[in-house]
């Protein structure tokens, strides 16, 4: 099929692109930025998150860039488009991250690797088949007017907050060793670290492991260039190359050789085929390139600002500006310094639950580490809002914005899938961005284990989803499928 030869025309009776909404959103971002800076110019730190969020949203919408599709479409419809785009983004992010590291501005911290990463990825991957989008994908789809995706975001937010702060009824699942280890950590009494499953998981299990990049594991920490070799080339670029070849061999080669009329392809033909696969969806490839580059630049800019303000965490800046409400006992808030999604959503859920009178700060996750700042002062939270706004800017400009209301079926999928994604994200301490994209690109091999879990979960999810479709069609009748 030659897609370029197809005719594309506006549907009859529909209006020309209406840029007014896009311009209005851009103006809101600009005026909001000016307003924040007029209050205190140190809000620049928060605004950097907003602006990068808008950029992410624009490119996510431009490339229909969704990591759920990267996994799901392989099994559901045998389409490698998004998996290829994801690998391109990983490669570019890794290269820029390497430069940022060599320049001394990298804000990344490696994650401890254990069973929780694989299980969390599995649950997260199973869930996102039903929601129709990953953590970042749900945000950009919400920006297209998809209310199902809004439900997914709500489900992820509240599930995480409840898992983190209200998991005492699951204490029976915590081994004695976790309880003993957590009790020995000598934490402030207000955190009650021995009284919630997630606290026991964190203090009694997670803290007893040490995260390290591949270079650090191999004792190369003294040499920046050796670190770049192990962390960037071996941990990121080499797996990307291997996975692209595997995607080509299993999902693209047959149709490429058929269309090209190649019966006995040479090595040059095969390389040409891989190249064609990479550019077969130009939008996705371009989005992958720019998302990778901007994700790396984001770390750089935040690192420079931290040095400028002489801080390690945005909580210090908030405190200096007189905003102390919602800070952790260490005066910190969640401030990764790079692209992240789910933790700030957990904070949104916790903020609402706290307003309803539930104590959400008596735990390690919020009380010790991330705090629960007012959403108007939540810098990574504004990055997520920026993604929604950025996607809305482009979706309106491309005439693709449409309010889409959920049905009972799609709402159920969104909520149940979102709950599973929330559980998976907390177990793995991150989502497809925080536990995969940001890790593998910064030399942390735990991200590949998370991807393995996501692939396993996605495979199982597609199996169950297909059975649901078959059952529904058999039940409903009335169609010829």
């Amino acid at each position: 099929m030659d897609v370029n030869a197809s005719t594309t025309k506006p549907a009859p009776g529909l209006k020309r692109p209406n840029m007014l909404y896009s311009i209005a959103i851009v103006l809101i971002v600009i005026l909001g930025s000016v307003w924040a800076l007029s209050i205190d110019n140190r809000f620049l730190y928060l605004l950097v998150y907003v602006w990068f969020g808008v950029i992410y949203g624009i490119f996510l919408q431009y490339g229909r860039f969704c990591m759920a599709a990267a996994v799901r479409d392989l099994f559901a419809v045998r389409v490698p488009r998004m998996a290829v785009g994801m690998m391109i983004a990983v490669g570019l992010y890794a290269l820029v991250a390497s430069v940022v590291t060599l320049a001394g501005f990298n804000t990344f911290h490696a994650h401890p690797l254990g069973w929780h990463v694989l299980i969390g990825g599995l649950i997260f991957g199973f869930g996102f088949v039903f929601t129709g989008g990953c953590a970042s994908g749900s945000l950009y789809k919400a920006g297209e007017g998809n209310m199902n995706s809004m439900l997914v975001i709500l489900a992820i937010s509240f599930t995480q907050a409840i898992v983190v702060a209200e998991s005492g009824w699951l204490n029976w699942m915590a081994p004695e060793a976790w309880v003993a280890s957590a009790a020995a950590k000598d934490m402030p009494e207000s955190l009650s670290v021995t009284e919630g499953w997630f606290d026991l998981f964190t203090a009694g299990y997670f803290w007893d492991m040490k995260g390290a990049t591949l270079g650090e594991m191999l004792g190369a920490a003294e040499s920046p260039w050796a670190m770049a070799f192990w962390n960037t080339f071996v941990n990121a670029l080499l797996p990307v190359i291997v996975l692209l070849i595997a995607l080509y061999a299993y999902y693209y080669r047959k149709s490429y050789l058929r269309k090209s009329g190649l019966a006995n392809p040479s090595l040059k033909d095969e390389i040409s085929g891989i190249w064609h696969m990479c550019i077969s969806s130009k939008n996705t490839a371009i989005a992958g390139i720019f998302l990778g580059i901007f994700a790396g630049l984001h770390m750089w800019v935040t690192g420079v600002l931290r040095e400028h303000y002489e801080i390690f965490n945005f909580g210090e800046l908030l405190s200096a500006m007189g905003y102390t409400q919602g800070l952790s006992v260490q005066d910190t808030v969640f401030d990764p310094g790079y692209w992240y999604i789910t933790t700030q959503e957990a904070q949104w859920g916790a903020w609402v639950l706290e307003k309803l009178g539930i104590d959400m700060m008596d735990n390690i996750f919020f009380g010790l580490d991330n705090g629960i700042p007012n959403p108007l002062l939540n810098a990574p939270g504004f990055m997520s809002i920026g993604i929604i706004l950025g996607a809305a800017i482009l979706a309106n400009a491309r005439r693709e914005f449409k309010w889409k209301m959920p049905s009972l079926e799609t709402a159920t999928f969104a909520i149940v899938g979102g709950i599973l994604m929330g559980i998976g994200a907390r177990l793995a301490m991150g989502c497809n961005i925080g536990a995969f994209f940001a890790t593998v690109t910064n030399g942390d091999p735990s991200g590949w284990i998370f991807l393995l879990g996501m692939v396993g979960g996605g495979y199982l999810g597609v199996k169950v989803f297909t059975k649901w479709m078959d059952w529904k069609m058999a039940r409903d009748g009335g169609c010829d499928l």
Binding site: P10, R78, L481
Partner: protein, 83 residues
């Protein structure tokens, strides 16, 4: 909102998955094309932009021809000829 797939004429079919998000549109399209005969034309109606990317790639892989695409205000009407 309900998916519908019906034969509308000799060798002509219509699949309407308006209101559905990923992965419904691409999976229903795959099933619909499997049901059709070579040379049949499918009119596909959907409103989930990201599904369109997957459907194009799926058709390209299988040799099916997306020969007409009407797109406006988030609504998509495509015609696909099965190889």
């Amino acid at each position: 909102m309900a998916m519908s797939f019906n034969q509308t004429g000799d060798g002509e079919w219509k699949l309407d998955v308006t209101g559905y998000s990923c992965p419904h549109p691409q999976m229903y399209t795959k099933k619909a094309l499997q049901k059709m005969s070579s040379g049949d034309v499918l009119t596909l109606v959907f409103d989930n932009p990201s599904s369109g990317e997957s459907i194009v790639a799926m058709c390209e892989s299988d040799g099916n021809d997306v020969f007409e695409r009407e797109e406006a205000s988030g609504n998509f009407v495509w015609k696909i000829r099965k190889a």
